[in-house]
Symmetry: C2
Subunit: 678 residues, 2 copies
C-alpha cells in the first residue's frame, strides 16, 4: 500500500500521488491542472475554490473517505464567516490531502475556462486573456541594501509567481510608492503579456488584494456605427454593450467620401481621427458608468475595422487607400497603449490591439470574421460574406482561403434609398407581398406584430411608421419579383401591367407603395425604380466578388455559405437568394453567423493565442483585388438581372415562384407621382 | 603564386586574400574591419572613404603596385565632381581589389572611432552610439501581393542590413507613407538599438539619403544648474553646450526644501516636474537653433542627476527621499521616449536614458562619475569626490567600490555666504593673502588679471566686482588660515590680534574685508565669521563622508584622490587640502577630473555598451548611508577644526606654513560693522 494518497482532478482527469499534507493548489500546480489563484495561495483571494467528491468512483478507481481532506482550518472559517463559501466548496490553497480524493475544479475556478457563446452553432471561446491579476507581497526598503521599490516589486513577482522580464508601464511609476505603502507592502498588479514578445508589462497596481476584476472592450468600428462590448477578462462575460453612430459620417457617408475629405482638406484626417477617438471615449465612459466599474480597471481594447477606419483610428492619413495600389501604412496587427490613442476613459497604460488587415480593401474586420468563422479549418468549401457598406468575402477550406472586398455601397444599410432610413424603431424591416392580391404586409422595428395583425396600429403609435431600413428594402425588392410586380431586369410594371393599384407612376417609371398616410399628412413609404437600381448595383457587386473568388478557386459551386454582419442579423437568406446576392447553394447550407466581426474581436480580447492564430492565418490568405480585375466587371454586369433558375433550387421553388414577366415602360406616361405631404 | 591578392587594413592590421574585383567595403565587412556605410554600398553616402597606400611595406610583407585597385569609376567621378573627394581617397564601395594592397581606414570612416577628450589625462571614448542611420530601398506596393508599407520597409531592412525585429515607433507611423513616396521608395531611417533588449526601433524616417547627421544631448541635471551638451552621434564631437539655472530653485535652494515643498503642497511635485521639463525644452531649443540643426534630428538624451532631480524629472513625487529609509521609486536605469517626458523640442520618438541610481542619496550623477572615473578598474585605492550641493563620494579599487553621499549644503557653491554669489562675471574666484602684509589680491570671473596687476580696474569696469563665488570663498578661508588671520577653530582675530586693519568687528566676531568700495556707494566684499562656519560645516560633512568610507574599507590612507565637479573645475586642490576637505594624500596624487558627471553622461550617450557597464558596476557598488551611521557624526564633529599636520605633507609645507595661533574674541566688543551701502 502506497503511503501517498491518490488525487484525481475532474474535469481534466489529471492524477498523481502526493505526500499527505500537500495543499490541493500545490498539487494542481504540479500536475498542470488549471486552478486559478490571484493571491498565490495565501488564503485571501478565494479564486482557488474546489469541490471534493466523496464515495465510490469506479471510473477513477478510487474510494474517497470523509476524511480525505484536512478539516476546515481557520482561514477557511474566517473566509466563510466573512463572505460565505458555497456548500461543499473548499479553498484549494488551505485544504490538504489526507487520503485518496477526487477534486472537481468548477468552471469559475479555471483560468482557461470555456465561454459558451449565445449562438450554440459556433465554437466556444477558451479564456486566455492577455492581462491577468497577481497579488504579491513586496519586501520593505532597507537603507543598508538600497534598491528601488520597483526593483523589489519585480523581485517579488519573480520569486512568488515566476514572472521575470516584467516592466512597469512608465505612466504607472509615479504611483508605485504610494500604492505599496497603502497596501502595507502588498499589492495586486495587472500584468499584460504580449503574445509575441517575451516581456510583460504591469499596467496597473492596486493596494492589497484587489477583487473588483479587470475588463476589456471589444470594439467593432464600422464606417456607420461603432459597437463596443464591455467584457469581464476573467469570465469572458459581456457585461454591457453600447453603440454609437460613427461621428465621421458628417465628413462623408461612405469610406471613399472620407478619403476624399482628407485629400481636399489639409488636416481633415486629423479632425476625423479626433472625433472617432472621442466617440470611443464616450462609449468607454458610458459602459464603465453603466457597469459601475472604475475606469482604470478597463485595461484592454481590441479593435476590428476596415482599412480606412483602421488608418483614421491610428492617426494615419488614409489617402493611399483611395487610389491604386491601395497601399496600407501597415498591414500587420498593431499594439499600442491607450494613451497613444488618447483613450482617456480607460486605464492609460491599458493595451489596445488592432487585428491585422488582409489587404488595402480587406481590413481587420474581415480578419475578425475569419477568426470567428475559421474558413481555414473547414473541410468543405465555405463562402463567408460579411455585409456592411463594403462587403468582405472569404472563400476557402483547409487547404486555401481567398479574400476580397466588394464595394456594395450603403444601399444594404438603407442609405440612398428614397424611403430609406437607418435601422431604428419605426423602420420597416420585414415585408411580404401577397401573390394574389399584390398587397403588402410588414413589420417595423420595435414591434413584434405584422401590419395586418390586431393591435399593430396601437403598438406602433409611439414610434410611427417612418421609413424602410436595409433589410426591409432587400425583402421588398425580392417580394416585388416574387409577386410578379417586377421583371427580370428589375423594372416595376404599371398598375395596368401588374393589376396592382400600388404601382404608381413616378416620372417615366413606377414606384410600389407600401404604406401611404400622405392624405393625413403622414408618410408615403414606397420602393422606387431608383431604389431597385441601387439594390441591383449593390447585389451585383456582392455577387461579382463571390464569383471572382470562385473563378480563382476554379470552382462553380460552393458547399456552404455563411452570412455575417447585417445579413446574418437581419436579412433573410431566402430573399438574399431570390435577389441573387449570393451564389446558388441549397438553402439548408446557408448559415447565419451574426456579427462575426464583433465575435472575432471578442475572441481576440479573451484569448491571446487567437491573436497569433489570426496573424498567421492572414499571412496565408490570398488576396484578390476586385478593383483591377477585368472579370469582376464582367461578373458585375452579368449579375444585374434577377432571373432565378428555379430548377437548381428545389427548396427555393417551394417558397417562390418567379413569373417570367417583362414590362415595357411607356415614355408617354405623363402622370406625376403623388407627393408626400409633410 | 596565389591568384588572390592580399588586402591589409590599417590601423586594425586585419588582413586576408580576396578574389580580384571584390570591393574594399565587401572585404572590410568580411574581415570585420570597422568601415562605415549608411547607403549600404550604393556609392551615394561617401561614408566608406578609404586611403590606399602604394609602394613597399616590409612591415606587412607587401609591395603595392599602382594598379592594385580598379580605376576610378563613374560613381566616384560623379561624386568627386559634385562634392569633391580628398586627394588619395577612394570610395570603399566602388574601388575593387586587383592586386596586393594596403588600405588605411581614416578615423572619420570608422563607426567605432575613438573620441579624444580635451583632458588628455582621461581615457578616450569609443563611439558606439545607440542610434544610427541606415539608407534603405523599399519595394513598391503591389496590389497582387498586398502588404503594408511598413512591412516592406522591415523586409528591406532585414534583407539589406540584416536588421530583424525592428519596430517603427508608433508616432512615426503617420508619416511613413508620405516619406516613402517623397524619397521615391528610398529612405534613411534612424534606428535605436536598446542595449538590453533584442528589439530595435525606428525613431525617424527621412526621404532619400539623409546626410545632415543625428544628434544627442548629454544633460547634467543639477539642483542648481542644468548643463546640456549637444553631441554629434557620428563623430562624438560636442557641437554646442549651454546651461541654465534650475528653475526649481524658486521652490527651494536645496533638495530637501524641494522635497518639503512637495510634502506641504499637494501637486507641488507636478509643478516642479513641469518647470524642469520646460527648462530642458528651452535648452534643446537654444542648442538646436545655435547649431542650426533640425529638432527631429535630435534623437537621444542621456540624463545624469541626483535622486531627487531624478524623481522630479520622471514625474515621481520625491517625498520618500525626504525620510528614512530613503526608498527610490526605481533604482535601475530608465529608458523612455521624449514624448513621455514632454520633451517637445526634439524628436518625439527620440529615446531618453537615465543612468541608474546607486542609493536613495547617491544618484545617477554619482553613477556617471563612476562611469567616467572607473574606480572599479583602478589598481590603487582611489577616492573620487564630486562636489555640488551634495557631495558624492566613491572609494575603491578593482576588488571593491563603496559609495556614499554627504549633505555638504550649498556653501561650496557660494550660496548662503554673506558676500556670496553664483559663479558669474564679476565674482571673485581666486584669492591670495600675503603672509606679511595680510593684504589680499584676487581675480574675478571674466578677467585674467590679478587685482594688483596693471589694467585690472579697466578690465573689470564692465562687470564690476560684485561678490565672491564658491571657489573664492574656499580659497579665502584657506588663505585666512595660512596667513595667520584665523585660528585652528576657524575664528578670525581682531585687528589688534592679527595686525591687519582688514579684520573688522561685526557683532561679537570679526570679518575680513577683501574689497571695499562702500565709501563710493560700491560693494563691500568680506568673509564673515558665519561664512567660515558654513564652510566648516560643509567641509566637515565632506571629510566625514570620505572617512566613513575609509572606515568601511578598514584603511587609514587612500592612494590617490580624484576631484570632480566644481572642485576639479574651480577649487584649487591645495586650498582644499589646507581646509581639510579631503583626507591626507600627497599633493601629486590629487587629480582633477573636471565635470566627471557630465563626462559620464557623454560616455553613456556615445557608447551604448557603457550603459551595460555602469548598470553592472552600480549593482556591485556597496552603498553606505551617512544619515544613519553614528560614526559619520563623530567624524563630522572631529573634522570641524583646520589644524593641518604639516609633517605628513612635505609638499604642502613648501607652499603653506600654518601658524599655531588661537584667538579669543572679547564679548565686550561693541563696535558695529560698517554697513554696506547699496
Amino acid at each position: 500500500m502506497s503511503s501517498k494518497p491518490l488525487v484525481v482532478f475532474t474535469p481534466s482527469g489529471k492524477r498523481g500521488y502526493f505526500e499527505k499534507g500537500t495543499s490541493i493548489l500545490q498539487i494542481a500546480r504540479q500536475l498542470g491542472v488549471d486552478l486559478d489563484s490571484v493571491c498565490g495561495g495565501r488564503g485571501i483571494c478565494s479564486k482557488c475554490q474546489i469541490t471534493p467528491s466523496y464515495g465510490e468512483f469506479p471510473k477513477h478507481g478510487v474510494t474517497v473517505s470523509a476524511d480525505a481532506l484536512s478539516e476546515w482550518n481557520k482561514v477557511e472559517e474566517r473566509y466563510n464567516d466573512k463572505r460565505g463559501l458555497a456548500k461543499g466548496r473548499r479553498l484549494g490553497c488551505q485544504a490538504c490531502v489526507q487520503g485518496d480524493v477526487v477534486i472537481d475544479v468548477p468552471a469559475e475556478s479555471q483560468v482557461h475556462k470555456q465561454v459558451i457563446r449565445k449562438d450554440a452553432s459556433v465554437r466556444p471561446v477558451k479564456m486566455n486573456p492577455a492581462t491577468r491579476l497577481f497579488y504579491v507581497e513586496v519586501a520593505e526598503p532597507d537603507m543598508h541594501e538600497p534598491s528601488g521599490d520597483l526593483e523589489r516589486l519585480k523581485k517579488a513577482l519573480k520569486e512568488q509567481w515566476g514572472i521575470g522580464d516584467v516592466e512597469l508601464d512608465f505612466f504607472q511609476l509615479n504611483k508605485l510608492q504610494k500604492t505599496l505603502r497603502q497596501g502595507n507592502w502588498a499589492v495586486t498588479v495587472a500584468i499584460f503579456k504580449d503574445h509575441t514578445a517575451t516581456r510583460s508589462s504591469i499596467v496597473e497596481i492596486w493596494p492589497g488584494l484587489y477583487e473588483k476584476g479587470i475588463y476589456g472592450l471589444a470594439i467593432d468600428l464600422g464606417s456607420t456605427t461603432i459597437a463596443a462590448h464591455l467584457t469581464d477578462l476573467k469570465s469572458g462575460e459581456v457585461l454591457k454593450s453600447a453603440g454609437l453612430m460613427n461621428p465621421q459620417i458628417r465628413f462623408g457617408e461612405d469610406l471613399m467620401s472620407r478619403v476624399s475629405y482628407s485629400m481636399m482638406n489639409p488636416g481633415g484626417d486629423k479632425e476625423m481621427t479626433k472625433i472617432v477617438r472621442e466617440a470611443i471615449n464616450s462609449l468607454a465612459e458610458q459602459l464603465t458608468a453603466e457597469a459601475a466599474i472604475e475606469k482604470k480597471s478597463l485595461v484592454e481594447v481590441v479593435f476590428v475595422c476596415n482599412p480606412v477606419m483602421h488608418h483614421l483610428l491610428l492617426g494615419i492619413d488614409p489617402v493611399e487607400l483611395g487610389q491604386a495600389p491601395f497601399a496600407l501604412a501597415s498591414s500587420n496587427s498593431i499594439e499600442v497603449s491607450a494613451s497613444d490613442l488618447d483613450l482617456s476613459n480607460m486605464n492609460s497604460s491599458g493595451r489596445c490591439y488592432i487585428l491585422p488587415c488582409i489587404a488595402g480593401h480587406v481590413g481587420a474586420d474581415a480578419a475578425a470574421v475569419a477568426l470567428s468563422e475559421e474558413p481555414n479549418k473547414s473541410e468543405d468549401l465555405v463562402l463567408v460574406v460579411d455585409v456592411g457598406t463594403n462587403a468582405e468575402i472569404l472563400l476557402g477550406n483547409k487547404s486555401k482561403v481567398l479574400a476580397c472586398s466588394s464595394p456594395t455601397g450603403p444601399a444594404f444599410e438603407g442609405a440612398q434609398i428614397s424611403s430609406g432610413q437607418r435601422a431604428a424603431p419605426g423602420a420597416i424591416e420585414r415585408i411580404e407581398i401577397d401573390n394574389n392580391t399584390k398587397e403588402p404586409r410588414f413589420r417595423v422595428i420595435g414591434c413584434n406584430l405584422w401590419s395586418d395583425e390586431e393591435g399593430f396600429t396601437e403598438a406602433t403609435r409611439k414610434s410611427g411608421i417612418t421609413g424602410i431600413c436595409g433589410s426591409g428594402i432587400i425583402e421588398a425588392v425580392a417580394e416585388l419579383r416574387m409577386a410578379g410586380l417586377m421583371d427580370e431586369s428589375g423594372l416595376i410594371g404599371s398598375a395596368e401591367a401588374t393589376g396592382s393599384s400600388r404601382c404608381i407612376p413616378e416620372g417615366r417609371t413606377y414606384s410600389y407603395v407600401i404604406y401611404d398616410q400622405s392624405d393625413e399628412n403622414g408618410p408615403l413609404i414606397s420602393v422606387s425604380q431608383n431604389d431597385i437600381r441601387a439594390i441591383q448595383l449593390a447585389k451585383s457587386a456582392l455577387y461579382a466578388g463571390a464569383r471572382l473568388l470562385m473563378d480563382e478557386m476554379k470552382i462553380e459551386k460552393v458547399d456552404r455559405v455563411v452570412l455575417a454582419g447585417a445579413f446574418g442579423a437581419h436579412i433573410s437568406s431566402k430573399h438574399a437568394m431570390v435577389l441573387g446576392m449570393i451564389p446558388d447553394v441549397p438553402l439548408d447550407k446557408v448559415q447565419s453567423a451574426g456579427n462575426a466581426a464583433g465575435t472575432g474581436a471578442r475572441i481576440a480580447l479573451c484569448n491571446i493565442s487567437s491573436r497569433s492564430d489570426i496573424e498567421e492565418m492572414v499571412g496565408k490568405i490570398e488576396k484578390i483585388e476586385t478593383a483591377i480585375e477585368p472579370k469582376f466587371q464582367e461578373h458585375f454586369v452579368a449579375a444585374n438581372a434577377i432571373p432565378h433558375k428555379l430548377d437548381s433550387f428545389p427548396e427555393l421553388s417551394k417558397v417562390v415562384n418567379l413569373p417570367k414577366v417583362h414590362f415595357n415602360i411607356g415614355s408617354d406616361n405623363k402622370k406625376r407621382r403623388r407627393r408626400r405631404k409633410l
